[in-house]
Symmetry: C2
Subunit: 342 residues, 2 copies
DNA sequence: TTGAAAGCGCTAACAG
DNA sequence: CTGTTAGCGCTTTCAA
C-alpha cells in the first residue's frame, strides 16, 4: 500500500510551507501570494497527482461540501418513491447544480429507526433538501441540527426552515376550473394521502374553490385518496367504472396517478377523453407520452430542483441571509385528455 | 455556538476512557468489555445526545461508509438520465440496501471536466457502483483509485473490476426469437448508441443470432440507433411510418424507447399491435401501464440494485475476496403489444 | 508574503 | 478489561 500523498508532500516538492499550499488550494483571497509561488505549487500538485482529502478538511474546517437530499418513501422501511418520475427529475437537477458548484449529493430515504438528524450530524452536512411532507416530530427533530434546511413541497410553517413550493391550492383551482369551463360538472379528485394541511389537501381546497365558484355542490364521494402511484389510479378507475352515476372528468394530483387511471379506465373499455376526461398534475415527461397525451398542471420540476440546490448552497456559503421562501409558477398545459362538453 | 459534544465528553460522563467509548461505539469484537460498562457508556451517549463525527472517523480509520453511484448522463455536462425509469428503480434499491447496512450513497453524474477518480479520492469512497458503459480512459483512470468498483451493465473486461450484468446477447436473442415465433419476419431493432462491445451491441448480436437461426436475412436498414429516450423512439416511429416496406415488429432495447415508439406510431394512426408489434426491454414499471401493455424482456432491476450494493459492501468490509461477477437472469414477460401473425 | 504549530474528533496500537 | 497516546491530513491563527 503506497502512502497517500498529502499536502505535506506537495509543500516539500514545491519548496514551500504547508500553509502556503493550503492557501493556494482554497484560493484564500485574504492571503496574497506571489504568482510565481502559486505556479510552482500548482505544478507540484499536478506532478504528484495530489487530491485533497475532504475528510481531513471537514474535520479541520467543519465544512463538508455535502448536501443531503431526503426523498419520501412509498412505505416506511422500504425503497423510495422512484416510481414517481417527479423525484428522478428533481434529483437530477439538484445533483447537476451541486456538482457544478463543487458539492456532492447524499441521497437518503427516511428510516423509521434512525432519525435523519443523526445522519445529518454524523456527516456534518452543509445543507439539506427535504422533499415532501412529514410528521411534526420529524421537523422538530431536524431543527436541532443547526443545519440549513430547505423544505420542498411542505407546508410546515416553522420559521426555521426555508421553503420552495408551488401554490397547490391555486393549482387545484385552475385544474378544476379548466374542467368546469369545458362543461364538466361531476369531477373526481384523485390524490395521495390527504394529510391535514398537506399538498394534496391544499389542492383539494382549490378543487372545492372552483366548484363553489361554479355553484357545483361538493360531493364527498368524488374524492378518492390512496397511495401516490399508478396502482391506486387503477384501483380508482375500477371503482369509478363500477359506479353508475359516473364522473365525466377526473383530476389527478400527480401524473403518475393519471397514468394509472387511464390504464384502468381503458382496461374497462372506456375511451379517453370521449367517455371520461383526465387531468394530471406535474407535467412530468410521461405526460406527453401517454395516449392520449395528458392535459396537466405544469410545474417546472427542473427549476424546482435547481432552485433548491442554489438556495441551500448560497445559504451554506453565507451568500444570502434570512429566511428564503419561493413560490414557483404553475400553468395549464393543454393536451388531448380532456373533452369539451360544450 | 455551543460546542459540539464529542467522544471525550461521553467518556467523562461515563467515567471511562475515550478508548473504551470508541470500542463500544464500534462494537469492536476484539475487546471484551463488561456489560455494565457498556450500559453506562450507552446511557451517557443517550444523555448527551452524542453523535459520532464521521469525518473524524474517516480521517483516523480511512473508512467512510460512503459508496458512490455513477449514473450516465443524457448529454455531457447535463443532467443525468433520470427520464429513464430504470435508473430510479436501480438507485432506489441501492440506497435501501446501503442504508440498512450503515452506508450512505453519494450520487453523481459524470463530468467531462472532472474525473470521477478525483471525487472518489477526495471523498475516500469505500466503494463505487458504476452504471453504464464509458470510454476506455474512464476505466483506466478509475483503476488507479484502489477502491473496489462494481460495474453494472458494462462490458469492460478489465480484471480489476467486479461486474453485474445480464446476458444482453441472450436477451436480444430471446426477444427476437419470440417475435419470429409469432410469425414476424421483418423486425426492427431500435437502440441507444451502438458502442462497440456495449450493451446495445450485444443485444444486436442476439437479434442477429435469432434472425440467422430462422434464416431471415439481416437488413441494415432495420436497425435504428440514437439516444436512449422516448424522443428518439418517436423519431423512429416517424421514419418507419414514412417508409413503404414497413416492419411488422419492433424490438426496442429499452422500455422507455418503446414508450416513445408507441406514441409516435399512434400519432401516425397506426394501431398496436394490429398494425405493428412492439417489444421492450427492462420491464420497468411503465411497461404495464402502457396501452397496450408492453411485452418485454424482464430483468430484475431491483435485484440488480440490491446485488450491486451488497457486493460492494461485502468487498469493502473484506467479507468476500476475489473478483465478483454475476449474471442476472432474463425472461420474457408477455403482455399485449405483440400480435401473432400465425 | 510565508512558515510553525496548535488543534479538529476519532481510531488503534500498546501498555497496564 | 481499560487507559494513554500518537497520529490521520488539513485549516488557521499568529509570528516572522
Amino acid at each position: 500500500m503506497k502512502k497517500r500523498i498529502g499536502i505535506k508532500d506537495v509543500a516539500k516538492e514545491a519548496g514551500v510551507s504547508i500553509a502556503t499550499v493550503s492557501y493556494i488550494i482554497n484560493k484564500n483571497p485574504k492571503e496574497s501570494i506571489s504568482q510565481e509561488t502559486i505556479d510552482r505549487v500548482n505544478e507540484a500538485i499536478k506532478k504528484l497527482n495530489y487530491v485533497p482529502n475532504l475528510s481531513a478538511r471537514s474535520l479541520a474546517s467543519n465544512k463538508t461540501n455535502l448536501i443531503g437530499v431526503v426523498i419520501p418513501q412509498t412505505e416506511p422501511g422500504k425503497k423510495f418513491m422512484f416510481n414517481n418520475p417527479f423525484y428522478g427529475e428533481f434529483l437530477s437537477s439538484v445533483e447537476y447544480v451541486a456538482r457544478t458548484k463543487g458539492y456532492h449529493v447524499l441521497i437518503s430515504g427516511t428510516d423509521a429507526n434512525q432519525s435523519y438528524l443523526e445522519v445529518a450530524k454524523k456527516r456534518s452536512l452543509d445543507g439539506i433538501i427535504i422533499v415532501g411532507m412529514y410528521d411534526e416530530d420529524f421537523y422538530e427533530d431536524l431543527k436541532k441540527s443547526q443545519i440549513p434546511i430547505v423544505l420542498v413541497d411542505s407546508y410546515c410553517k416553522d420559521h426555521y426552515f426555508h421553503s420552495i413550493q408551488i401554490n397547490d391550492r391555486y393549482g387545484g383551482y385552475i385544474a378544476t376550473k379548466y374542467l368546469i369551463e369545458k362543461g364538466h360538472r361531476k369531477i373526481a379528485y384523485i390524490t395521495g394521502m390527504l394529510k391535514k394541511g398537506g399538498v394534496n389537501d391544499h389542492r383539494l381546497l382549490g378543487y372545492i374553490d372552483a366548484l363553489k365558484e361554479a355553484n357545483i355542490p361538493f360531493q364527498d364521494e368524488c374524492v378518492y385518496s390512496g397511495n401516490v402511484g399508478y396502482e391506486y389510479g387503477i384501483e380508482v378507475a375500477d371503482l369509478i367504472y363500477k359506479r353508475g352515476n359516473r364522473e365525466t372528468a377526473i383530476f389527478c394530483s400527480a401524473d403518475i396517478m393519471a397514468m394509472g387511471v387511464m390504464k384502468g379506465l381503458k382496461n374497462r373499455g372506456l375511451r379517453i377523453p370521449q367517455d371520461i376526461s383526465i387531468m394530471g398534475f406535474d407535467d412530468s415527461y410521461i405526460s406527453k407520452l401517454l395516449d392520449p397525451a395528458l392535459t396537466t398542471v405544469k410545474q417546472d420540476i427542473n427549476l424546482k430542483g435547481c432552485t433548491a440546490a442554489n438556495i441551500i448552497i448560497d445559504i451554506a456559503e453565507n451568500r444570502i441571509k434570512g429566511k428564503q421562501d419561493v413560490i414557483l409558477p404553475l400553468e395549464i398545459v393543454e393536451r388531448e385528455s380532456v373533452e369539451s362538453l360544450i
